[in-house]
């Protein structure tokens, strides 16, 4: 029974990780720069984690200012590829810290132009606090307390380690980061009643204002710029299954809504900025009770229809990942 419960705990942790995995948003590739790093969350009894993943993000048009889906230029093949490395470490019984950094390749081909550039993306540093002493995954509900979810709260700092439009670059194709620090407040609510898990991630982020004196390598009249506040919500539903080989398979589907408010130029609202994106995703994760390795594959899809976003590229992201947990 204890082993079975630990399997459930592990699976729940995987799902929780999967939910956060989709918080990785990108605004990259063809035009808009930046690949975001995802946040890692440790299972309750894990001491550390190393995570390696590879994202392939393909662009298939965008939603315009009015939310109308618009295809990319004919004959174009636009993509961003990210190799993400992340580590997480428990620093106290209820506290954990993590860091994720992507290395990004922008590979874009238009009918009349091709470009291939690469560089570090923006780095995410996260601090999480678990509001609970022990996991609340249950096999069945026999008491109202069995319905209590686990709540993890945290904060993230995005460090602009990527190449931004305000760096010494020549072209928008060179951009791998947004060039701004961002601080997020995060809350993760998670509940597993075997074999189903549901989790909700809520995040609110604020960018720090910064001065700008050059754009794409050209010096310009200095001004102050601030990107708009960002809200993210991800709802994930998972199903845990056990294989004959003592392996655990978790299937997760999720829905994410991301919104960034209008930015500011010298304190004045910039109506050309701000965006919204809604997407769905599916993840399959495989892990073994006897091993600390976890393998996962996921696919995130932006719906190429009017109204599912605004002022943002529509992309499909395929991810392959592997992680190793330290007990």
């Amino acid at each position: 029974m204890a082993i079975r419960l630990s399997k459930i705990v592990l699976a729940a942790a995987l799902l929780l990780g999967a939910a956060l995995f989709f918080s990785s948003e990108s605004r990259a590739g063809s035009c808009c720069g930046g690949g975001g790093a995802s946040a890692l969350v440790l299972p309750k009894f894990s001491q550390g984690l190393v995570d390696l993943s590879f994202d392939s993000e393909k662009y298939h048009g965008f939603w315009n200012q009015d939310g109308k889906y618009t295809p990319d230029a004919p004959g174009s093949d636009l993509g961003q590829y990210r190799l993400n490395i992340g580590i997480a470490k428990r620093i106290a019984p209820r506290w954990q810290a993590s860091m994720s950094m992507p290395y990004i390749w922008n590979i874009n081909k238009y009918s009349g132009l091709s470009s291939r550039t690469d560089g570090l993306g923006d780095t995410a540093i996260n601090l999480w606090y678990e509001t609970y002493d022990r996991p609340r995954s249950v096999m069945s509900v026999s008491d109202w307390e069995d319905l209590l979810p686990t709540i993890t709260i945290g904060t993230s700092l995005t460090v602009p380690t990527g190449i931004s439009a305000y760096d010494n670059v020549q072209s928008s194709f060179d951009v791998t980061g947004r060039g701004f620090y961002r601080v997020d407040a995060n809350a993760l609510v998670d509940k597993t009643i075997h074999p189903v898990t549901i989790s909700l991630l809520l995040s609110y982020g604020m960018y720090l204002e910064r001065p700008v004196d050059r754009e794409y390598g050209k010096y310009v009249q200095p001004y102050n710029k601030k990107l708009g506040d960002r809200m993210l919500g991800t709802l994930a539903l998972g199903y845990i299954s056990y294989l004959e080989s003592r392996k655990v398979l978790t299937y997760t589907v999720s829905f994410s809504a991301l919104q960034e408010a209008e930015g500011q130029i010298n304190g004045e609202h910039d109506p050309t900025t701000g965006f919204r994106k809604e997407s769905v995703a599916g993840t399959i994760a495989l892990s073994s009770v006897d091993s600390d390795w976890t393998y996962k594959i996921s696919w995130s899809h932006a719906i190429k229809e009017d109204g599912w976003g605004r002022n943002f590229p529509t992309t499909d992201i395929t991810t392959l990942g592997v992680s190793y947990g330290f007990r």
Binding site: A73, M99, Y110, S111, L120, Q170, S172, P211, E215, F326
Partner: protein, 185 residues
């Protein structure tokens, strides 16, 4: 042992993190570092004589900058470099809605440097809803004008009727563009 490995990884990531952030001055002094230019020289910088060019529009008709700027009905020319992306769309639609009505006696060019053909540029213009919008789309198949003006996506150039560059920077909220256009003689 595991903790030591993790700490090493942390140190490595932190080092990479620091290396990355040192490449860019994230908090410049605010001092205007634009190089001074000599009036009368030809180049893309503000104050220089705009490099002349001839580009075809989406129907293949050649358009020459110097001829456009000197039209008696035009106070100047705005050139916007587009790759038909969300940022491009939001800025072009802002220009169309907020700037063009205030400054109708200015010529607006959208330079498409990615489509590579008249047909491609025409399709992009249609797909993005800019056919008949007030922008004349020019097709820069060899990126020659893009390079002449040291431009990229979102670069907005203003040239007055004397052929002098008045602005060459990213489009932002439209305020700077309106200020420059308002100051044209």
């Amino acid at each position: 042992m595991a903790s030591v490995k993790l700490l090493c990884m942390c140190a490595l990531l932190l080092a990479l993190c620091c290396c990355g952030s040192t490449r860019e001055d994230l908090y410049p002094s605010g001092k205007d570092k634009r190089p001074t230019v000599q009036a009368g020289t030809i180049g893309p910088a503000v104050g220089q004589q705009a490099p002349d060019f001839t580009l075809p529009d989406i129907h293949g008709n050649p358009t020459t900058l110097s001829a456009s700027a000197k039209l008696p009905t035009a106070k100047g020319v705005v050139i916007y470099f587009t790759m038909w992306c969300p940022t491009c769309d939001s800025e072009m639609s802002n220009m169309r809605d907020a700037v063009m009505p205030r400054f109708p006696n200015v010529i607006y060019y959208a330079v498409d440097y990615v489509s590579g053909s008249f047909d491609g540029a025409r399709n992009s213009e249609l797909d993005n809803g800019y056919a008949g919008s007030g922008f004349t789309t020019l097709v820069d198949t060899s990126q020659s004008v893009l390079n002449q003006y040291q431009a990229t996506m979102s670069t907005t150039v203003v040239i007055d009727s004397a052929g002098v560059v008045r602005m060459n920077e990213n489009y932002k909220d439209g305020a700077k563009l309106q200020e420059i256009l308002g100051g044209l003689p």
